[in-house]
Symmetry: D2
Subunit: 216 residues, 4 copies
């Protein structure tokens, strides 16, 4: 798979190149610098909103699929993304962890079966994280489908643990996800890239990637 | 719900009565003694194979549904159970924990999505447990659908923990079930009893009870 | 060890008799009823303040040691207990879990070595528990020696989990205690009883029992 | 603290520089290349046995303390290290995690108090780890002071979890250490470096660094 990276010099950019394999990286794009050696099958952009304009141009020019993990996009940005999605496959998401994707699907489907159980959510992140509860914890709570106590621990350098626990008088069922490192998101992007290459044009949510892997 | 208990003086029998509510217990049946005050809607039998004959007679006489958790039944016993199931609803199972039922369904459905992840099972039970791995761990492995290392810890008085862990380079997803006490099985039996009362005659697996709760 | 139980018909009383062994129970004492078959080496009282008067009389009469787990004693009660402690060994405590005792000692000694680490406490108890955080969590925080976030989960029938977690940028050290059942306190009482029988008269804290076991 | 790094271009070397702060790195030494800008107070060597000769020369020349994490040293190497230790402080270790150091001390001191409890060790590492059980698990077992079952899970990219669990009929006490990343060892090296600078000449074990932090 020949791919291009937007923001290749950033922390996430380097992680993506390591996971996708440096040997197949045919394009590196940033606001300052650009090198395109060959036509990329897919462009991966986890950088900043300012970079989006050029990302979209490159995708259009090379008919490359797009994996888009950039956050804080405006509505105007989204209009442009949807326009691109009419001619190529675009996978967008804001948490590219496959495990969290699976956890969300499990909760959505099975939380109703546990509606008489108590449920609480705990999440632990590094002390530099400013928001609490985490965006992912809020998403998980939505999937649980009812309000429940959420505990946020902020400790050391923990990349991100999430735990949803159900209990009744006689038993406890706990679903736990632990991110080992930032690499988890690069691996999700790789799965999204493989998915995108074989797809019809359109805008896909990362969860469809996870859900598709499930059906195989 | 008016119910009867077979083996009411045993450890599990007493647990069942506490969970079902002593005030609605209209029949206690054992090999030595029998008291039937009123017509039971459902008979609950978690006792021994020897007791089955009388259990079946009572069910037939009062047209009571049956929740059957007795283990070590012979094929001949099963023939008789199926015969009864032509006239009343019979729920049979050998692990009446709802949480384990849900865990099995989750694994069956989602383990394929995690086929490229490593998977290992751990279970912890009290030191009096003679078999290792536990029957439940073996069942869980079947639901995972591929062979995987299984670790059995035998420590103190732990009633029963089971944990299935999936991991790749970047993340770990762990599903854990913990039995708090024997009460968990009595609670599963109560759920099975409520299910049985409203059903057409037939032989049902405990998992159908769990699965039915899910659809509501 | 010949022993007597105060409040033998209560839930904790029955647990104590099961753990101490019914065959050596030579005295059962309650407000309504009293049977003393032989001279008890030790009296175990985990009942109510109202029972204390008779407990003290019996100890004095038979020169029995005393293991006292009754809570909500007044100062006046304590004066009487100290008076008894001049002639027999009395072990008093309000959490007879050996594991919690060990955990307290570990924290007191090692938390200073982890003063630059972040620390948080989590505890999970059944939904019937009215106070939060638990008394034990408060005690653990004192042993940690600095203020720290404490998370209280109230779920199903969990008897009592406590977890103290230290983390820095690169690692997490977690100390977890889990009560399996009420039996844990009966076992601590047994250890206290064995300790008391060999001791000089005096008032001992349960922690001395744990600490003494450590030195052996 | 002005410091020098041996093997600065390797994975651990870069980690060390990031944790110690690049601005104070006055010397980088490798088999191919060497830059010494200023007199280093301490040299940090987590590289290979072949590099040791030059490391010792530099320490002698600049009277630098030494933090030595290189493994697979021969007895002949150790003779030379001890010789250096007559003129400067040398801290040696083979696991520079402070948390594991603390865990070892806790076990050594408290495992005797839990001698009647069951004990089992579990450790989880990435699938690239060839040995099982881990060297650290073996060390922990030694501190426990008796033989016990050890379970090794090899899954995905887990940097390294170790768990020692004690249980009796009524309770479970679990001590768990989790390495978040390789950074944990660089942070231990930093603590060792600070320790070494203020010490008399001599050969110190990393555990003395941990133990010294405890006494403060």
């Amino acid at each position: 798979m020949k791919y291009g990276i937007v923001g290749s010099s950033g922390r996430m950019g380097r992680e993506l190149i390591e996971v996708f394999g440096p040997e197949n990286c045919v394009a590196t794009i940033s606001l300052e610098d650009e090198t395109i050696l060959d036509s990329p099958e897919v462009i991966v952009d986890f950088s900043r909103p300012e970079a989006l304009k050029r990302t979209l141009e490159v995708c259009r020019e090379y008919r490359s699929a797009l994996v888009l993990g950039t956050t804080a996009l405006t509505e105007d940005h989204m209009v442009q993304v949807k326009e691109l999605a009419q001619s190529v496959a675009v996978v967008q998401g804001y948490n590219f962890s496959v495990g969290i994707g699976v956890l969300r699907m499990i909760l959505r489907q099975y939380a109703p079966a546990l509606s008489e159980w108590d449920v609480e959510i705990s999440e632990t992140h590094h002390i530099h994280k400013v928001d609490a509860p985490s965006g992912t914890a809020i998403t998980l709570k939505k999937e649980v489908g009812r309000d429940c106590p959420t505990h946020s621990l902020r400790m050391g350098g923990v990349p991100g643990d999430h735990s949803v626990s159900f209990a009744n008088e006689g038993e406890v069922l706990t679903l736990t996800h632990r991110a080992i490192s930032r690499k988890v998101f690069a691996m999700g992007a790789l799965q999204a890239a493989r998915f995108a290459i074989g797809q019809q044009p359109g805008l896909y949510d990362f969860e469809e990637v996870v859900s598709c892997a499930l059906k195989r």
